[in-house]
């Protein structure tokens, strides 16, 4: 079994093993998550060390319907696979004390399997199967282990993303059909389909792809599923949702939409950039209005992914590199924030901004990590968030539409406007009459350990982003206009 196959088969085996191991499922899950992380580190190490071209695996010969089992990995894919494996392990650690059935652990392993498959597949049929397969475990994670409104949120999440992706599927089929008309060959292989002349159908195909990927990102106005799903999911579920699943959308745009329809993307650049800028500003404005801490973090994700898209659509080397790095950064930072909100909720069963106050004295470690992550999230220089956002903004500044950089900067400012007062209200403001701060005990050793790891990564990438940028650059080279 090659390394690339192992990257998604190991979590799949983990899912089966977890489902079968009953009460010992958390240990099984830990073992398989560690194995998956070790494998992805082994795959990532040469790429990081040599800023190299990555691994390629020729799939078998095309089988029925022109479908082939084609996997490949470059810096972008492997970084995201590494992020998946890393956050999955974090989730296992963070959920360790929960009283949940074996299905919980199996769902997280199955989710990791599908996510790794998405990032590795180079056959569009395979890609689509993995893409949709991510929905099933997440549907159950939200619906079975979420909070009060979980039934509705789970269904909304599934139907929204499915609705987007079925149009993406139609667009993919159209590309395959057009390619067959031109060459006489049925294939779903991405490399072969690249460069197909789409003719007059090109705008429709790009639109279909954009809807499919845009729902996932999410790009305003396709974002309405996100606040519900993120708020209702259990803490670890939100970490995977925001940390990795949103990146599928950006990844899809980078890997599939832009290469298949580059001319349409270039022609639509003003509109797309405008939508991205609106996402960045609108997400921030919505976050300002929230009174629920978890919802606030959820809306901040929309804003950050808006920055990501600004970088992507700028079409400049800096913007693309910034977007790719921001994907990783946002995964780590927002993952930490969702975990912290989850820990808070676990203790007090409240999430409202006005339910707390004075937590900095009662739970100093919690306050420290929360503050650290917030600083990373709003882009304080020296931490990881700054690097990605700066590159995205400088990319859009160099593009043909520098005006959107101004909008982007407004978004950056707004991030401080929504995040800092929230932090202040929970941790520094005097305790109000209805405050539940007394219930909050400080983080234990396990929880602190998890957050030390996350914060160390934030600092590391913030101070030394070069190896990551170098590893990501080769994957993006072909997309620069």
């Amino acid at each position: 079994m090659s390394l690339l196959t192992a990257l998604w088969v190991v979590p799949l085996a983990g899912a089966v093993a977890c489902a079968l191991s009953g009460r010992a499922a958390r240990w099984t899950s830990l073992a398989f998550s560690l194995a998956a992380l070790a494998l992805s580190a082994a795959a990532l190490r040469p790429v990081l060390a040599s800023s190299g071209a990555g691994l390629a695996l020729a799939g078998g010969a095309p089988g029925a319907f022109g479908v082939s089992y084609a996997l490949a990995a470059d810096g972008l894919s492997l970084s995201l696979v590494g992020l998946t494996a890393f956050l999955n392990l974090i989730c296992v650690a963070a959920s360790w004390d929960l009283d949940v059935s074996a299905g919980y652990w199996a769902c997280f392993q199955a989710l990791a399997c599908a996510l790794c498959g998405v990032f590795l597949a180079r056959d569009l049929f395979l890609f689509y199967i993995f893409w949709e397969a991510t929905l099933i475990p997440m549907f159950f994670i939200i619906g079975l282990w979420g909070s009060d409104n979980r039934r509705r949120a789970a269904l909304k999440f599934f139907i929204f993303t499915f609705a987007g992706s079925i149009f993406m599927l139609l667009a993919l089929i159209a590309v395959v059909v057009l390619h067959q008309r031109a060459t006489g060959e049925w294939t779903w292989n991405l490399a072969a389909l690249r460069g197909t002349d789409l003719g007059p159908a090109a705008p429709w195909i790009f639109l279909g792809l954009l809807v499919g990927f845009g729902v996932k990102v999410p790009m305003v106005p396709l974002h309405t599923w996100l606040p519900d799903a993120h708020t209702e999911a259990p803490a670890a579920g939100s970490v995977m949702l925001a940390g990795v699943m949103l990146k599928m959308g950006v990844y899809g745009i980078l890997r599939v939409a832009l290469p298949l329809a580059p001319t349409v993307a270039a022609a639509w650049m003003p509109l797309l950039t405008l939508l991205a800028a609106i996402s960045a500003v609108y997400g921030a404005l919505c976050a300002m209005a929230q009174t629920d801490l978890k919802r606030l973090v959820a809306y901040s994700s929309i804003a950050h992914l808006g920055f990501c898209l600004l970088g992507v659509f700028s079409g400049t080397a800096q913007g693309l590199a910034g977007a790719a790095l921001l994907m990783i950064n946002h995964g780590i930072t927002t993952g930490a924030l969702f975990l912290l909100v989850g820990f808070l909720y676990e203790r007090a069963h409240k999430r409202g901004l006005s339910d707390f106050g004075g937590l900095a004295e009662r739970a100093p470690r919690l306050a420290f990590f929360f503050g650290f992550s917030i600083m990373a999230s709003i882009g304080l220089p020296g931490l990881n968030g700054f690097v990605g956002e700066f590159l995205c903004l400088s990319g859009i500044w160099q593009s043909s539409l520098p005006i959107f950089a101004v909008l982007g900067v407004i978004g950056v400012t707004l991030a401080a406007v929504y995040a800092l007062p929230a932090y202040q209200a929970v941790f520094w403001a005097p305790e109000g009459p209805g405050s539940v701060s007394a219930k909050v005990r400080d983080l234990g050793a396990r929880e602190s350990g998890i957050l030390w790891t996350l914060c160390a990564l934030m600092l590391w990438i913030g101070l030394a982003p070069q190896p990551w940028l170098a590893a990501l650059a080769p994957s993006l080279r072909g997309l620069v206009r």
Binding site: M1, G60, F65, V67, Y69, L144, F162, L170
Partner: protein, 452 residues
């Protein structure tokens, strides 16, 4: 041996089953249950007999081509669950096998006359089967059967009238007529309408929900799979004998409209069997879209292969879903609440089938939908395909809604009926089969990836 008999070997096996069941009923007292089970397994013999059937054309009546063989496979295989689950008494066995025999005759029909014989042969026993089967109130079953009969009689009359018009203009009952005039086109339209009646295309579907709801679940499974496959082939044969450009223009929109209509109506159903009936209507819409694409592509065998795969996948999904109802005795959606906590195995299998019915990968339901969409886009049918895609999103509302009811709700206090063993086996087989079908195109590559 009569040269005609060889190509009709599967049909002969089924006829033997019919006589066997009736004869046992006459000769043996008390009721010969095991004899009936043996006779009911005649579809297995028919499947085996398919291997010795030589493809070819025996004018004027019998035409055994590639699609005939493929369709017979799906029809007989789709009938197996009913044979396995609920053999019933001798009369019911004979009726069920008689209907299957009619479908088998329809599958080899080489001209319009034979098509009509097959149509009637498959329909008449089905009416009686609906009237006799099931445990619901007798009045409702009879009412449904009568409704079914009138709809079927109307379809038969339409077909005959259309055939007469067609014959009046062309002087033929087989293929090969030149371009049609007004009379001939009217005839072809009437014949196609008869086929659409049998498939259940909107607005010719009004009989379908009542019939599917009143019959026993296993019987409905049979009606929604084998019968639907036969009706689809019926439409294909009509178009093949008398091709006309209007089919390529009308059928895709009709199919997409039916898909959306069925999905929208299924959303608000409380009774499970009625819900699955509307869901079956929605799937029939996609089949009609597939036939439209095939007609537009000028009879491309690839488009027929897509249809056949759809029917095969649907045979697994629908038979499995109705087997779930038969196995658990559940009747309403509210009984479904929290069912996963009571019966984990049956719920998991049913959930797999529901995801498949919704077209979620990695299941056969996804593959089937993908292929039909693919052929439709090849035929340049972007509009109807997009409409069908919308329908398939709407359908998630109830498929996933049922998964949600089963898994995310607290169990109900009401007494839940027993679980029956034979349908449970069918349920399990169908669930496993539909997943295997979904990953089949990747299987070779996957195996190569795992063991290079």
């Amino acid at each position: 041996m009569n040269p005609l008999m060889y190509p009709l070997a599967p049909q002969a096996a089924l006829a033997a089953g019919v006589f066997g069941a009736l004869g046992l009923g006459l000769l043996v007292r008390p009721k010969p249950v095991w004899g009936c089970v043996l006779a009911a397994l005649a579809p297995l013999a028919a499947l085996a007999a398919l291997r010795v059937v030589p493809p070819g054309y025996w004018p004027p009546l019998v035409d055994v081509d590639a699609k005939s063989l493929g369709w017979q496979f799906v029809i007989y295989a789709g009938a197996l669950p009913l044979a396995f689950c609920a053999p019933g008494d001798d009369v019911e066995t004979a009726l069920f096998l008689g209907a299957t025999l009619g479908m088998g005759l329809l599958a080899v029909a080489g001209n319009l006359l034979m098509l009509f014989v097959g149509l009637e042969f498959m329909s008449l026993p089905a009416y009686l089967l609906v009237a006799r089967s099931g445990e619901g109130p007798r009045g409702r079953r009879l009412e449904a059967a009568v409704k079914y009969f009138f709809a079927g009689a109307l379809a038969g009359a339409l077909f005959l009238f259309g055939m007469a018009l067609y014959y009046a203009e062309t002087g033929r009952l087989g293929p090969g007529a030149a371009a049609l005039g007004t009379l001939g086109r009217a005839g072809v339209s009437l014949m196609a309408a008869a086929a659409l009646f049998k498939i259940g295309a909107v607005p010719l579907h009004w009989w379908l929900p009542d019939v599917y709801e009143a019959a026993a679940p296993e019987v409905t499974g049979f009606l929604s799979t084998s019968m639907k496959a036969a009706a689809t082939l019926f439409l294909v044969r009509v178009i093949q004998i008398a091709p006309d450009p209007m089919f390529g223009a009308i059928l895709p929109w009709l199919g997409a409209g039916t898909a959306l209509f069925g999905a929208l109506l299924a959303l608000r159903q409380e009774r499970l069997q009625r819900l699955l009936a509307y869901s079956s209507l929605s799937h029939a819409g996609l089949l009609i879209l597939g036939v439209g694409a095939w007609a537009r592509l000028g009879g491309d065998p690839r488009a027929l292969a897509a249809l056949l795969l759809y029917l095969g996948a649907y045979a697994l999904m629908s038979n499995g879903a109705f087997a779930f109802l038969a196995a658990t005795g559940l009747e309403t959606r509210s009984q479904l609440r929290g069912y996963a906590a009571r019966s984990a195995g049956a719920s998991a299998a049913f959930a797999v089938l529901l995801f498949a019915l919704g077209g979620v990968p990695p299941t056969g339901g996804f593959l089937a939908k993908l292929l039909v969409f693919w052929q439709a886009l090849r035929a340049g049918l972007a509009g109807p395909t997009a409409l069908a895609a919308v329908a398939s999103v709407v359908s998630l509302g109830y498929y996933l809604g049922m998964v949600r009811d089963m898994y995310f709700d607290a169990p109900q206090d009401t007494a839940v009926p027993r679980t029956v063993r034979a349908p449970s086996l069918v349920l399990l087989t169908c669930a496993i089969g539909v997943v295997l079908l979904g990953v089949a195109p990747l299987l070779r590559g996957l195996v190569g990836g795992l063991w290079p």
